[in-house]
Amino acid sequence: MEKKKKRWHIAIFLAPAVLVYSALMIFPLFGTLQLSLFDKVDQQQVFVGLDNFRTLFFNERWAESFWNALKNNTWFFFINMLVQNPVGIMLAAILSSKVVRFSAFFRTAFFIPTILSFVIVGFAWKLILSPIWGIAPDLLDMVGLKSLFAPYLGLESTALTTLALISVWQFVGIPMMLIYASLLSIPDEVLEAAEIDGLTGMSAFLKIKLPLIWPSIGIISILTFVGNFNSFDLIYTTQGGLAGPNYSTDVLGSLLYRTFFGFQTQIGDINMGAALSVVMFGIILAGVSFYLFAIQSRMRRYQF
């Protein structure tokens, strides 16, 4: 009987990816986990168990910052989900219809903000909305709606929603492209068959196309979730490290930044920072698991 050959090539082919991924992701992840269980006492790292987490959740001040950041982050995600994805789907549906002219131009135009850096987007919008130099007050004045203008980024009541909408503006191209691609992949025969049965226009979209693009919408939702709960750049470039006014735009990312690296006279605390990032990791892990086990496994897939 022939001896079974060892299949070395599997290990060899996997090695580069495993090594790079371990060095850049797995190792730091466990490093962070470990840091979160330690505290600095007299310049020495001392094991303290779950003390950092206890401080984070039960110390009055830490808990207040944390829940405030989590609440803001959830609202940020909520606006993104509720505006970005429906608008993205709508744009994709319009672009994929054959009656729209210049659709290639629009597709590019809607997608361009996505490839811009956060810094450019943040500063551009900060200038547009600036009550002093911005064009937003003048534009509103031209159509007689000056009274609608407020320093949106400077008011506690509007700053976070404004930032969420800026983020929507920037990233609406991604759901649009993904949905657009899956809409194009729907075979014409299916649509023609439906048309013969009397389904056209809106009802064709709702009854035929929408069920076929659910898996893509699921993917987009999870991308939005992960992206939003990791968000930091936009807030930092427009509102600064203190996520003003009065911490009303503080999200988990900006709280982590201030905790881990410090801000102004506040000295960075790597152990509390690590504890916070472990919590963030947990939140994202829970969200993704919920999607994978509760939603994706029940989703119906169609094959042509």
């Binding site: 006014p245 009065n246 006279t265």
Partner: protein, 417 residues
């Protein structure tokens, strides 16, 4: 063959590189003064290098808001420059305690500085000084003289006159009375609360009282300063809630605002940008003839990275920083940064001279929350950014704001418990 060529070329270049280094020593300065980059490159460093041709100096600033965090990370990682620009008080004290800054007490140049100048960078027991003091900054108000003439108002001396001036400018409508915004938060605290406050908490008396625990932040003067600050909101520009620090600077230098609550460090920028005549006045007092107090903050110093591979050359630079040549060069290249040394410094900028002369009429005092009171978490320095903005925007009453500061302090500071 080809690879061999490349390898030998690389080897040759690395040899040449090290040969070039052997000729002299390069010192790198970490700093948050990115606004001063050109002045260091064009004036200060060439003056030093002319005397010490074997030492090459690089000025490598970081953005102010990121400086402390970036510096800490660099020091921990062992990649920080040889010379470290020091924030006053606890920001640098923690670095010294952690062993990142070298003790400079015995350096010859240190004798050129008095106790007040050194206080910002000396340990609590006074045994060690770890940074060579460079400059202090003074708070007050800079105003547009043309705007004052046009509206027909005079420099105010009392608080009521101050608000009368603001009312008149507002009525006139051509100028925004106060060029300040709350988007970046720190101006409200530094140029607002710390600027006018010393008049109410009697400067050092109040500050040391809080440190000693004999006075609370909810006592008279500390709350009154919040009350005065709360009146400012009405005189700031439309949408000041989203107005950032550079916005305010531009509003003033473009001649659209009349009064700029300032720190003296603005002078060099304003001299270059504004094409109208500027004047300055110190924070108005309550009743005419009252003693006046100004915030005269020891602000900037330079220390030696304990891990620097070139400590001797770095000390040569530090001694030069203590020299009268540097004091004159620095004070005149950067009007508004006033030398802390005992050397006689002649200032060419009349406005800078005017501001520094306030020291003769008013009592000098340090910013309230930099020494000791920001040592714990939450540190007052960041906390009062928030309360200052809140009282200006009217979302917190002056009493609530003061209570928040007191609670924050009492949560970790024993003398206040």
């Amino acid at each position: 063959m080809k690879t061999k060529l490349i390898v030998s070329a690389l080897l040759a270049s690395s040899f040449l590189g090290s040969a070039a280094l052997a000729q002299g020593v390069t010192l790198t300065i970490e700093s948050w003064r990115n606004d001063d980059l050109t002045i260091w490159q064009d004036k200060i460093i060439p003056a030093f290098e002319a005397e010490h041709p074997d030492i090459h100096v690089i000025f490598a600033p970081t953005a102010p808001a990121q400086y402390n965090a970036a510096l800490n990370a660099k020091l921990e990682g062992g990649t920080a420059g040889d010379l470290i620009t020091c924030r006053p008080f606890d920001g640098s004290l923690t670095l010294y305690d952690a062993g990142y800054l070298a003790d400079l007490t015995d350096m010859e140049g240190m004798s050129n500085f008095g106790d007040v100048a050194r206080s910002g960078w000396t340990t609590d027991d006074g045994s060690a000084t770890y940074c060579m003091p460079m400059a202090s900054v003074i708070h007050g108000f800079i105003y547009n003289k043309e705007a004052f003439d046009e509206v027909g108002v005079e420099v105010p001396a009392t608080v009521e006159e101050f608000f009368a001036v603001l009312d008149k400018i507002k009525e006139d409508g051509n100028y925004i009375p106060l060029a300040m915004g709350t988007a970046d938060q720190w101006e409200a605290a530094t140029m607002g609360y710390a600027n006018i406050g010393p008049n109410y908490w009697k400067g050092e008396e109040g500050r040391l009282g809080v440190i000693a625990g004999t006075m609370k932040l909810t006592d008279g003067g500390w709350v009154e300063a919040h009350r005065q600050l709360a009146r400012w909101g009405a005189y700031m520009g439309d949408g000041y809630e989203a107005q950032s620090y550079p916005d305010s600077q531009n509003l003033f230098t473009l001649g659209r605002a009349a009064i700029y609550p300032a720190g003296s460090w603005e002078l060099s920028g304003f001299n270059a940008q504004a094409d109208f005549e500027m004047g300055a006045f110190y924070p108005p007092v309550e009743n005419a003839g009252d003693d006046c107090y100004i915030s005269d903050q020891v602000d900037i110093a330079v220390g030696l990275n304990a891990a620097s591979p070139h400590p001797d050359e770095a000390k040569v630079f530090l001694d030069w920083v203590a020299s009268s040549e540097f004091a004159n060069l620095y004070a005149n290249s950067l009007p508004g940064f006033f030398s802390l040394s005992n050397h006689d410094v002649m200032m060419e900028d009349p406005l800078a001279q005017e501001i520094v002369d306030w020291r003769k009429t008013c009592h000098s005092s340090l910013r309230p929350f930099h020494q000791i009171l920001s040592r714990g978490t939450p540190g007052l320095a960041t906390e009062y950014w928030q309360t200052s903005v809140n009282v200006i925007r009217g979302v917190q009453t002056p009493e609530e704001a003061s209570q928040q500061l007191q609670d924050a302090l009492a949560s970790w500071y024993a003398p206040q418990q």
